[in-house]
Symmetry: C3
Subunit: 340 residues, 3 copies
């Protein structure tokens, strides 16, 4: 069974995926979760499994600020307690489901699977730039483990091959400077390519420098920033003019929800915001092929050859493994057990 | 591996599913079975696996009162003995398959997987009412364990929710009286709803009482009776005017054959007798969703919350478990082993 | 895990399946293999799994006589060594994949999974008759273990039943003489049918003798010869006028590549050479049904009843098991372990 980091916020859905009367089922971290909105707009997230006869509660309906099971009508409030049995005044005290803290922020619905008392919304990464309506947002499901998707983002050198036709970088990353920078708990994977021919829209008599950086926050929240300046100007000094967001939430051990936002320069409705072809036709088939090759065997047990370009992705894998191990030790100590 | 009650008749097929020259393959209790008719109309049921090279015998053909394998022609009689090897006069004595007792009764083909000597047709539940041609009969395959399907029938309170749109009971069961009655080895789940508004076709100046009962016989043979009388008349005293049959035969641990007959008021051919929409669009998706939630984990290990409406279905689950355990003890004692 | 004979040539592909710039992925003996051609026309076969991030190398492209991974560009030469990392001059010494010996012969590409030093092309069975362009060649994938497919060919008595409609033998094999002949390591399964009515094209006043022989070479290379002479002439004395080839290469434990060539009397392009209907509509469904019946349980553990017609197929199964066991003993002795 895969272990996931628990005391951290996960992006569960885009805000627009959950309209007023919607009842949304989604598998997150290998758990069935059902979400609906209270009348005040806040989101309730419950285990999607009625404790009576195990019907998915998502087959039921929202009744006021509660959720009524579609099988025998047992009704649960926002805290997961059963408040109504249509056939009796008595409700067994164990007729309850787990309720998870949620927070609507940055156009998303965030969920917390760890200790409820530690679910501080201030821990949600600052993704306020996503609130700019000039950024389009979408979500795809990739049949690959979330750490494979993270690897792909923390090592953008793949763009020279996987996206050779789409991005046409033409080898500028081959001689780029790649650096890994730690910033608190976050890890940056930064590329700087200098003395490049200018793009058509720039003065043609001087070369340019480009940067392409990705910041990772646990467990799999990534922000990409790109920029271009005349050669010799301080890179990253001016505000980068292009941010995009990549947040990966595990669906199962072998599949992921990929939430993405990117600058399109005009507002788009969710229906208009299609995922870029580079995602669906280039990254996604490659990631899924790798997942099939890995099968049920752990990534490290395949004994990967480590290249220089893996510096950031390996650092991230180790950081995440360390955070999960620390949680496990604390949790076992709490139960009086010996640390693993 | 699931344990099934063995010394009991199972409904294997409707009579009309097996025409004179048909060779019918069906998985029953996780076993592959092939059925065909002898010229006298009786049904032969054999293991659907040739002992020579393991071809399904159902890929062969009926030759007289025997079944010829479609791979190399080895031919088996009604008792499962090989009677013909086209390439030699010699037939190894172990060239045989298990033959199961069968009985055609009540428009159905019944099969017995237990000790052949105990296969008394008198043990088939009396379902003679099904022989009335005003009852339509059909069969569907539900991808859910047969005990889940039984639960669904022994607790009809689900009609208020699963069938809210189809049956429009409007809450009359919320205040109904539910009782569980034992009758020999059978268990009744009985509902009585009193002082209801009259249906449009009845005198409008008096209220009515309705009953809705389900009788269970092991392993999963159920008969439903419904009736309506002026309020205060003895319920169930007059012959109920509406019977229907629900017989569930395990296909695998996670799927079931559901044989159903119900009053349609006119004769219908099998082709005309479609399953009611309430089955295929309401019960079936719910049962399959519950099965997916249960996965490979035993029902009890999910620790169901017990409500008052579960009284009959829980009684049935325990009765059936007791019958299976008793068979296991007897069978182990026969082998000289200690009881479990 | 299935054990396969390793120190033997397997037919991996038809020559025409691998054109100059093709990169062909094929699963062979449960291993992912990628094949491409060098400029001199020889074929390179590598493990289809980049050791860096486990992308299938078959998603990459041929660059000169090397194969460039489609994920991050790591490039491998014909011996499986990485010769190019676009992002560094350094290549870790463990950045390599296994390369398998190959040989193009008899219109096919042969591959060797055993000890490379023993890969002598002289060990490829003589199938030079396949080079006759009057023979059509094709390949199908059968979802059945290769030994089941071999059984089917080494016991052609099935033609009387499986192919009753296609071949219309009409029972001539029932009284045929079946003999098993060993010829070195090869095993012949030979049928002789005598005193048959003449075919329409022959003189109608005398009977004929027909033979139908199949030669097996390890692991699953079979050659079929058929002939007909006036009754009493020495059978098989004259050159048989009709050869066909059946070579089975395991894809997985439950599926096989079936390479077949047969006399069509005219040259056909690969696109024109469709598999005979008797294969795809008669043999294949039967073999796949048997495989489904066997499931994951070993053939022998199903305790097959042995008939006279099984003489050759059983001899072949035992010969092959002996060869595999001998390889295992040698390999364990090499490692200093005790023989199994």
């Amino acid at each position: 069974m895969a272990r996931y980091l628990e005391n951290v916020w996960y992006l569960a859905a885009w805000d627009h995926e959950l309209q007023a009367d919607d009842v949304l089922a989604r598998r997150l971290l290998d758990r069935p979760v059902v979400m609906f909105r209270k009348s005040d707009g806040t989101v309730v997230a419950l285990d999607d499994k009625c404790p009576h006869r195990f019907a998915p509660l998502s087959r039921g309906k929202r009744v006021g600020d509660a959720l009524q099971c579609g099988y025998h009508g047992l009704t649960f409030n926002a805290s997961g307690a059963s408040i109504k049995n249509f056939f009796s005044d008595q409700i067994p005290p164990n007729a309850k489901v787990t309720s998870y803290p949620t927070k609507v922020l940055h156009r998303g619905v965030w969920i917390w699977f760890g200790e409820a008392g530690r679910a501080d919304p201030a821990l949600i990464p600052d993704l306020s730039f996503v609130e700019d309506e000039m950024l389009s947002i979408h979500r795809i499901t990739v049949r690959a483990n979330y750490e494979l998707v993270t690897d792909n983002l923390m090592d953008l050198s793949h763009a020279e091959f996987v996206h050779a036709e789409s991005f046409r970088l033409g080898g500028i990353m081959f001689n780029g400077q790649h650096s890994v920078v730690e910033e608190g708990d976050d890890i940056w994977s930064n590329w700087l390519m200098t003395d490049l021919p200018p793009p058509p829209s720039a003065p043609q008599d001087e070369t340019v420098d480009r940067w392409l950086d990705m910041r990772w926050s646990a467990p799999a929240v990534m922000v990409q920033r790109m920029g271009i300046v005349p050669s010799g100007s301080p890179p990253r000094g001016a505000a980068p003019h292009n941010f995009s967001m990549h947040v990966i939430t595990p669906e199962t051990a072998a599949s992921s929800h990929y939430f993405h936002s990117y600058f399109t320069g005009m507002p788009k409705t969710p229906e208009q915001a299609e995922p870029p072809r580079a995602f669906t036709e280039e990254d996604e088939p490659m990631l899924e092929a790798v997942q099939r090759t890995l099968g049920d065997v752990d990534f490290w047990d395949h004994k990967p050859v480590i290249l220089n370009i893996d510096a950031a992705s390996i650092r991230v894998r180790r950081r995440l493994a360390g955070l999960i191990a620390a949680e496990t030790r604390v949790s076992e100590a709490d139960r009086g057990g010996a640390p693993a």
